[in-house]
């Protein structure tokens, strides 16, 4: 009960931060509500953009996966993200920020619409990204319910826990908008950075030292399944899968909430600290999570697949006194509640890409637009809560949906790269890639579900789904956990085909107008005149 009380105090603090942000905001300004007036300072920008990416899936999912697959999960997800995400923020995030500031964009789709002179294709991409984001919000409510239930030892039910988390998140997003969300994310990130380290050392003490637990893992021989010593290496992760995971962090910058967050920085120089410290922040959070996930195997050797995501909570409950467990529980809640920026991003998409674009702002004014955004925040939270209750025992559906959404967002990255760096890219190239992303996500999801019956056991090689394809049979294989293409995860094929389609279809279709190309790729002599710097003349039209 004490841990639950501490978590409720934490929730009250979070709520207060959101309401305090409301007082600081400019009332009735959509740019203030959705982008905090593009005014975030360097520390808040770094911590909030990092916190936005650190969801329950990342922290609790990582420890659960490490429990099953070993220390390789860190390389698979964390160090790959520590390399790719800062690179995407460096090359894409900075440019989105600069274009947003120059041309007033508030979403990715506003930029794409203007860059490629398109309306409906923008709407299609907007709806596609919104649909891929919804499972994250649902899983956030589910995570809140089950974590609060676990922390309170069942005193708070799943339904009440989910409702409490939903109401708190909804309230600070409703009142505080982007400023409230960024401040809460900053507070949450600091919380789980500090308490992650505390948890690490406390658990080490209580279990008699990590060396003892490691020796236990080396010696354990379960009656069924492979030896647990494998968890100390990467034997349970095939090399092709490890390689293809490098493509998944491309999704980060394509998540609407991350891209929108990039527009909130006051200055572009704020990105410098973000890209430098991002890999370190990832390391500070993920290394203990993965390590503790492996350690949990020595403490709870027989957990089923549905229970592994709670190993950190279980370790804390068994290993620490109630007050510390409560404080650490608040840290876990901080991860679970990362759905705030996703809810706000959906609201921004709705009001900017749909409501404002189709004349709502012109007809009803800016104040009504902000209220439409707030009403949308309430509607999407209620929707997520209702779905979380009605599909309480089918959380795995959303786990799978999220896995495919990651691939979908990653394979949209070539669209953004083309828009930013390739003058000749066209809206038809973007449409071809977006259609491919939609079709491939649905196809691989269907293939994965329909081939569950032929999935090989852990440690066994993948089996061909359609052997009659002959030399191409390896293109569709079923591995233990997912469908693979010659051993590689589908995300790799999806990204490569997406890039191919953007290039080929763009070359086959008419380029955007000269005026638009000049707007987004100003020749250097004009750029020099604009900024007052020295310039080198580049002929108009040079690629």
């Amino acid at each position: 009960m004490i841990p639950a009380i501490i978590v409720f105090v934490y929730l009250a603090i979070v709520l207060y931060i959101g309401i305090f942000a409301f007082r600081k905001g400019k009332k009735g300004s959509s740019e203030d509500f959705f982008l905090a007036s593009r005014s975030l300072g360097p520390a808040v920008f770094l911590l909030s953009i990092f916190g936005t990416n650190m969801t329950a899936v990342a922290i609790l999912g990582a420890s659960g996966m490490a429990y099953e697959r070993g220390i390789g999960v860190y390389g698979l997800m964390a160090s790959a993200s520590g390399l790719v995400i800062p690179l995407t923020i460096f090359f894409i995030g900075t440019r989105l920020w600069a274009l947003g500031k120059r041309f007033g964009h508030m979403t990715q789709v506003q930029f794409l619409r203007d860059r490629w002179e398109c309306g409906r294709i923008g709407t299609f991409i907007s709806v596609l990204t919104a649909l891929m984001l919804i499972p994250y919000i649902i899983i956030g409510v589910m995570g809140g319910g089950s974590t609060l239930k676990a922390i309170s030892d069942g005193f708070v039910s799943y339904e009440v826990g989910g409702a409490v988390v939903a109401v708190v998140v909804m309230s600070y997003v409703f009142f505080g908008g982007m400023r409230g969300t960024a401040w809460v994310n900053t507070f949450q990130t600091l919380l789980f950075l500090c308490f992650g380290a505390i948890a690490f050392f406390l658990i080490a003490q209580k279990i008699g030292g990590f060396d003892v637990a490691m020796q236990k893992l080396l010696a354990m021989k379960p009656p069924k399944g492979p030896p647990t010593a494998q968890l100390l290496s990467r034997e349970r992760i095939p090399m092709q899968e490890f390689f293809s995971y490098m493509f998944i962090p491309l999704s980060a910058i394509m998540f609407p909430h991350v891209a929108i967050m990039c527009l909130t920085a006051e200055k572009m120089s704020h990105f410098k600290r973000t890209v430098i410290f991002y890999p370190i922040c990832i390391m500070l959070i993920w290394a203990p999570s993965v390590f503790l996930g492996v350690i949990a195997k020595s403490q709870f050797p027989a957990l089923g697949p549905g229970e592994t995501n709670e190993v950190i909570v279980m370790l804390l409950q068994r290993s620490t006194d109630p007050i510390i467990a409560g404080i650490l529980g608040a840290g876990i809640m901080a991860c679970v509640m990362a759905s705030d920026s996703q809810i706000l991003a959906l609201s921004t998409i709705f009001t900017e890409d749909l409501f404002a674009y189709h004349g709502g702002r012109r007809r009803f004014g800016e104040k009504v637009q902000v209220w439409a955004g707030r009403i949308f925040v309430v509607a999407i939270t209620v929707f997520a809560y209702v779905v979380a209750l009605s599909l309480k025992n089918q959380a795995s559906i959303f786990d799978v949906a999220i896995r495919f959404a990651f691939s979908g967002f990653a394979s949209l990255a070539p669209v953004m790269l083309a828009a930013l760096f390739w003058k000749r890219s066209t809206k038809w190239g973007a449409l071809a890639a977006a259609l491919w992303v939609t079709a491939s996500v649905l196809f691989f999801w269907w293939l994965q579900e329909s081939t569950a019956g032929i999935a090989p056991r852990p440690g066994q090689p993948p089996v061909d789904i359609w052997p009659q394809l002959g030399p191409l049979a390896g293109l569709f294989q079923r591995a233990t956990r997912s469908v693979v293409n010659w051993g590689f995860l589908p995300v790799m094929l999806q990204c490569l085909v997406s890039a191919f389609l953007v290039i080929v279809v763009s070359l086959l279709t008419p380029a955007p107008s000269r005026a638009t190309i000049d707007k987004y790729f100003p020749a250097r002599e004009r750029r020099g005149a604009f900024t007052g710097t020295d310039s080198v003349a580049v002929p108009a039209g040079a690629e």
Partner: protein
């Protein structure tokens, strides 16, 4: 310089695939698996690489363009 930076990024990306520690169960300091230790160090190397990129390849031209803009007026005009 540009190509040296590209090469640096490619080398760091390639170092992520440390197949040489794939089955190694050595424990550093008696409790920390070497494969995990390598990737923790890799995260630090990634941060150092970003320091080099920020110092040598920062897109200051787009920064200057954007800083010169009157944001509220532009936001209004975009609509």
């Amino acid at each position: 310089m540009k190509w040296l930076l590209v090469l640096m990024v490619l080398v760091v990306a390639a170092l992520h695939q440390d197949f040489w520690f794939w089955k190694d169960k050595t424990l550093l300091f008696g409790f920390f698996p070497i494969g995990l230790g390598y990737h923790v160090m890799y995260s630090i190397v990634a941060a150092l690489m970003m320091v080099v990129l920020v110092r040598c390849a920062w897109p200051s031209h787009i920064e200057a363009e954007a800083e010169a803009v009157n944001v509220p007026a532009v936001t209004e005009a975009a609509r």
